[in-house]
Symmetry: D3
Subunit: 187 residues, 6 copies
Amino acid sequence: MPIVELHLLQGYDDGVKARLGKGLTDAVRFVLPAAPEAVTVMVHEMAAANYYRGGEMRQPAPALPDPTRIVHDYLSAMERRDLPAAQAMLAEGFTMQFPGAAPMTTLEELIAWSKPRYAFVRKTYERFDAMPGNGGAIVYCFGTLHGEWLDGTAFEGIRFIDRFEIAGGKLIRQDVWNDMAEAKAQA
Amino acid sequence: MPIVELHLLQGYDDGVKARLGKGLTDAVRFVLPAAPEAVTVMVHEMAAANYYRGGEMRQPAPALPDPTRIVHDYLSAMERRDLPAAQAMLAEGFTMQFPGAAPMTTLEELIAWSKPRYAFVRKTYERFDAMPGNGGAIVYCFGTLHGEWLDGTAFEGIRFIDRFEIAGGKLIRQDVWNDMAEAKAQA
Amino acid sequence: MPIVELHLLQGYDDGVKARLGKGLTDAVRFVLPAAPEAVTVMVHEMAAANYYRGGEMRQPAPALPDPTRIVHDYLSAMERRDLPAAQAMLAEGFTMQFPGAAPMTTLEELIAWSKPRYAFVRKTYERFDAMPGNGGAIVYCFGTLHGEWLDGTAFEGIRFIDRFEIAGGKLIRQDVWNDMAEAKAQA
Amino acid sequence: MPIVELHLLQGYDDGVKARLGKGLTDAVRFVLPAAPEAVTVMVHEMAAANYYRGGEMRQPAPALPDPTRIVHDYLSAMERRDLPAAQAMLAEGFTMQFPGAAPMTTLEELIAWSKPRYAFVRKTYERFDAMPGNGGAIVYCFGTLHGEWLDGTAFEGIRFIDRFEIAGGKLIRQDVWNDMAEAKAQA
Amino acid sequence: MPIVELHLLQGYDDGVKARLGKGLTDAVRFVLPAAPEAVTVMVHEMAAANYYRGGEMRQPAPALPDPTRIVHDYLSAMERRDLPAAQAMLAEGFTMQFPGAAPMTTLEELIAWSKPRYAFVRKTYERFDAMPGNGGAIVYCFGTLHGEWLDGTAFEGIRFIDRFEIAGGKLIRQDVWNDMAEAKAQA
Amino acid sequence: MPIVELHLLQGYDDGVKARLGKGLTDAVRFVLPAAPEAVTVMVHEMAAANYYRGGEMRQPAPALPDPTRIVHDYLSAMERRDLPAAQAMLAEGFTMQFPGAAPMTTLEELIAWSKPRYAFVRKTYERFDAMPGNGGAIVYCFGTLHGEWLDGTAFEGIRFIDRFEIAGGKLIRQDVWNDMAEAKAQA
């Protein structure tokens, strides 16, 4: 039965409102055992001239980008080695943790590190999970890797998972786990 | 500025309302760039006699357990090898995916599989991430493993991540990634 | 989907709130094609100290009696010829219209008029319909009559319908239609 | 003092909202002894993009026709013997109960039954009463009949009442009472 | 934390809504020790077709003029001796009380009274304070007077305060205090 | 028609809520020409566990004292020369402005200044006007003075007005105007 009312300044497009409608429904169903159709969300929009804090009008800030999209775009840029595009998505202080590597902070380091390990790698995604966290967003994605070892033999079906932290629309941390060492050990 | 009003049947304890208050705040901040103190949540509670759907009164269903707690309890039971306790937390159709293993469905299988791999293992958690998903909850936890190999040498600092799906308060799927193979390869 | 919120002063019992919950649901479904379970009613109660009109507190007035009950009680009193009880339920200016009779205003008139028509009559109710109207309530009830003619022969299954107007908890008008003349003509 | 708030999807015309405003006011005044001007109804409309159930948008369904109008149109069509128009307003399973007749289900039956009883009949309405009921609407109308007997003599002032049940915008049941037999008996 | 929601018929311009937003914020902060930014006001506007009292639509009345502006305009008209303009702002029954004078009711009286006292006087305002009161508005303004005595010598810095009562947009009472006698005594 | 809803943390007594109810009604009527009984205020109270800002619970702060009472108490203490009581009501930085005097900051100064002017003085109040202002409250009071000159002759009916600014429950500024000089000049 829970009913959620969200009061919002006018000016967000339907996609933003749909993300809010979905997110608030999920937030309720995370705690209460309500069937989906038992959770109602109503978004009440107000003109700026109808909202006052401390007696002053306020302006709506632009909505945040979808963090799943940010991660997806970043991983695509890396796969096609479009380093400028990827670099533009990194926040100041970005760090990466890959299996068996020391923490890295630049894409150049990462590429140098991967060079002796495989010729190329592509991701097949099973699923993205995104949630609010750490004052921004946390995104997980997992699935399998396929590609080519340095000797030209192909590999596929190697499980991986990536975890990203996003703040202010930029990536600030990436953690990677996968079964590459396991695959090599079994090879 | 967003203000969220949640209308709820009476009878949930303060902990449940705090989880809802936090979750709804996060859901808004996931989409809108509002500072935390700019997001207000008001929970309006109603006696059952004050709420009608189709002209009929409804009763509140008990809140769902905190999925982070479920995962934490399960992993603790497994560490201390309390199989009955762990077993009680598994849903019908539970499956596990560990690195380099075929999918497993019983705890006995898992124990048999791990026996030739290490003497014991303990987890140090860096963080739990939980979110609504798949009609239930998804929980990630990650950190490092320490323990003993079969030859009695100790290991520590091996990165791991676990992903769980929970439905109806029970675990239905576990996926595990870690750097054990990497650690062995480097040893 | 319609959601109805009713703001009310505290102090009405659950029966009153259930009548309001049902009535508001019906009022919505009278105009909109919503399934019953798609119409939600929330009753928000306030202490008198939380409600101000013109800056002044107000006290809740007692709920009105159920008009169906009033009509039922009146007709029962008449059937058992408890004239004082029936009389007490009539408003100043009460008038009755029976088939083939001039309008009557007193129970004594009614009894005198019925004496040459039948020995006694009892009602079997098929249904009561009640609704707001004329600043008060309107109640219809219909079903069949059974009883005895003056010559001692029994009758039954004679269709009737009564219409009542109620104001201030008292009956102000009664209109009666039935098939008695039809039955006699066919006899 | 009661205040009613109705949350509704956008798209209903002012006539529909006025019917809802009136109906909700009546529903409150049916239970609480509030003066009309003490009952406030506010209709809050939302764009479809601002309303979510189960996280999904919904579309508003067209409002139901006014049941009083349906009955009025049906009775007019019957008076002028426009059988196709009248027939189109009947639901599957429609039944009629007239004084002294067996239940009838077709207009042809009704016309055959009335032919030996009067040349024609017209209704003068005193009042229509309509209310929600039986998952649809119930309409009463009453007043007097005038017309011509088969022998060409005129009649007038014969009281009648009709009761209709409406579902899905169509008539499903009609019950008729009147003083025709009484009038004939007195003639 | 207090949140104020104001439900209003549509049609007031942004200036009116800003005055309401400011006034409601002040009204809360007059009683509760909330920081300004902790008080939120939301104005919910409704089309006339969405608001019913006693089941009837209502039309919005024009907003009241800002009483500070009325007082300011009146005092300006008096300073430039535009008596018709000033007169037009006075309610029936207007009375004035000046220091050392009997109550006066006409502008002609006032001018006659002031003639033997000074050649002219101008006001420098420090501040206007306006508030609801006596079913209308009360406005205070204070500051200093400058001008010329009858003998042609200038004066300045003489403190004054005026108090006005306003009803229906017109001045009904004026009370004046100042240090003119003090200034003369010290001269 | 305006309807005001105030959402508040639980714990304020009825007197505080009545002050809020009155103040919000006045704030609306200051701008809109609504009859008093056309303005409704509903106070919705919430337990602390039902209110979250930034996902955190908040506690209600004690209501502010009535500023009219503060002024009244201060002026009474001064009349009976209870300097410690009066002193306790002054904020750091308190200043006073009396007719024909330089600004003063201590009660001792004030008493020294008044000594050569009159033997004693008492106030008869016509009215107090209080309003929010300058982040606190502004209080006006006016009426007449009576007392005794130094030569023992009595005076009465001398008009006065005091203006106070209050912040944090303490007096920060007092401005006084009166007709004492006028009275002396006329004597």
